[in-house]
Amino acid sequence: MTSDVPAIHVEGISKRYRIGAAPASRSLREALTSGAASTIRAALERARGGASPGDFWALDDISFEIPAGQSVGLIGHNGSGKSTLLKIISRIVAPTRGHARIHGRVGALLEVGTGFHPELSGRDNVFLNGAILGMSKAEIRRRYDQIVEFSGVEDFLSVPIKRYSSGMVMRLAFAVAAHLEPDVLIVDEVLAVGDAEFQRKCLGRMDEVARNGCTVLFVSHNLAAVQRLCRRAILLDRGRIASDGPTAEVVDRYLAETAARAEPDCWTALASPHTPVPKAAVFTAARYIDPQRPNCHPRSMGPARFEVRIAATTSMPAMLAADIADELGNKLINLDLWKINGSHADLPRGESVWRFDLEHVYLKPGRYFVTLWLATTTGSTIDYRPMALRIELASDDPMRAEGDTPNQEDGLVPCRASIVRVGEREPA
């Protein structure tokens, strides 16, 4: 590929959704009865040439260029338009306005294992999935042995994958995706699934692909992964580009702007997500305190308490979790109600407050970010707030000032310890 031609050129891309205009369950009768009214409304709207109150602009005038061979991370809150942008660039949905031009073969990976069928054997699924991702039969055949070796499920290839464990399916699916060799690779949050080992393997492979000169556009909530893979990042906020530049700067800006900086013992309001359809339940506010010293930052290795307010439109059981991550997005502590109590959160209609009590927080003093997650009992996300709350842990050492940042020499994890002399020997 010649490097003077951008691999991805996006100009003025906008995408409008009509709220309530096309839910999946819309029936013919509704269309017939509301058809006339909506036609008139649409005509009026065109005459005004503008937005109607029912419009939702998921993307608003997005323009950027990516030179061939560059890896770019796309970050932003849920509902900021990341996924919509990826879907437009991978041609799954059409833009409302604007255009884009892509040089080279496009490989889009918005999900691992798309089109896998439980009744088909592992082998059949490799070929079907490969063809769906745009590989030719000859290409799949040529890479088949590598794919199989990468997946580690050699012995089960003639067995229908419904007999596989979910981990095996995931490994096989990723093995196919990893052997896609496009000029332009578009990857959505596929790393969110799978265990640490799997994620490490995925990242390693993406690194390799990028180093081979492939242009990569990568969406992730995992800021550490974005920083590792991409020198450049684009921050989307409410459908617009908020920042575009070196990854470290963009990530800083993202963290500074999006994470509500919480003060101890004060409720911090969490803005409603920018989505067209109202959610069944949302996080409305959160706070954190040191349960022993109100109005103070919790101390490193001391107790800490988090509280979240959830507003639900109807009473329902849900899965509730919070995690604490460092500034790079590395998850350090995971507080999952199901894993801790073995039960679901029974959300009443209206607002409820949930308390997370941590006995000892073995983290060094410093800045951390709390991510909140609410899902149905089957695990599909209702509200997800990556790095929603920024918190501070104070030093437990009275000699050190609060907010004094510890340095690298302190090690990753603090620990209560003592060092004493327990023996001695006289020199001979």
Partner: protein, 285 residues
């Protein structure tokens, strides 16, 4: 040009242009051709999945028309004494059920094809037309054994294999395939928006069953209505199947021409409707 995708010249690098609105039909078809291997794998998937864990497997493709024709032969031919143009009732009904079973199955599975593959539509780009097409092609694979059986009964019966017959059957099959593709393409796109289509479909197929010369010979249709009657593509296909395989009457090439034209016109309308709806598919799925 208003298309959403224009591939570059044959050499590399390929250039993809993304724009609002529907894509021109020509570039759609060219693209479909470049995705023919995907079509092959989709057909293979449909066939394998359909017969996975089925003891009788592909034998079902023959049981459906044979059992229906046997029952019709007994109830309609022997008991109710319907006219079968002087042909043994089983053969009379079987000759009609072979193309009809294909048509009904093809239309039904093609209509549901986009809704059944919503997950794919939401997550990957590929020519959406390949889904209803794969459904029709899979139904066609199920036509092979019944066709062989039909030809076999003709040999046993001593029907002479004339050149006209050898030309007529492929032409008739092609018309039924075009008609099934047209209806399947149009309905699949409509079904993604209005799920009413899949609810109404069994009823519509049943109407088609009575509107086609299956349980009665086409010769019973009054002369005044024949022109209208043969607008139904399956009318000429089924009548032609009987004429060719059972020698009940001479093949009417003019009726076949009318049906063929209707089928092609339907296909054109369906393709345009499909192409217009396509940009919204991922949002509707």
């Amino acid at each position: 040009m208003e298309g959403g995708l224009i591939k570059g010249a044959a050499g590399d690098p390929e250039i993809t242009v993304i724009r609002p609105g529907a894509v021109s039909l020509g570039s759609r078809l060219a693209e479909l051709l470049s995705y023919r291997e995907l079509l092959y794998f989709l057909v293979l998937r449909n066939l394998k999945v359909r017969y996975a864990q089925a003891v009788l497997g592909a034998a079902w493709s023959i049981l459906q028309p044979v059992l229906t024709a046997l029952l019709m032969g007994l109830l309609l031919g022997r008991f109710a004494k319907f006219s079968t143009d002087g042909v043994p009732p089983f053969l009379f009904y079987f000759a009609a059920m072979v193309p009809w079973t294909f048509f009904a199955n093809a239309v039904t599975s093609a209509t549901g094809s986009l809704v059944a593959n919503q997950q794919l539509i939401r997550k990957v780009y590929f020519p959406r037309l390949s889904l209803p097409l794969a459904a029709v092609l899979s139904a066609m694979a199920d036509l092979v054994v019944p066709m062989l059986l039909l030809l076999g009964t003709m040999v046993v019966d001593g029907v002479p294999m004339s050149p006209g017959l050898l030309v007529a059957l492929p032409v008739l099959l092609l018309i039924s395939a075009v008609a099934a593709t047209a209806i399947g393409i149009g309905f699949s796109a409509m079904n993604l928006r209005y799920r009413d289509v899949q609810v109404a479909l069994p009823f519509l197929v049943q109407l088609g069953f009575f509107a086609s010369p299956i349980i009665y010979p086409a010769s019973r249709v009054p002369e005044a209505y024949r022109a209208l009657y043969f607008l139904n593509p399956m009318a000429a296909v089924i009548d032609g199947f009987r004429a060719a395989t059972l020698r009940t009457h001479a093949l009417s090439w003019s009726d076949i021409a009318v049906s063929g034209t209707t089928a092609l016109a339907l296909l054109a309308v369906a393709m345009v409707y499909f192409a217009r709806s396509e940009p919204d598919f991922a949002d509707l799925a």
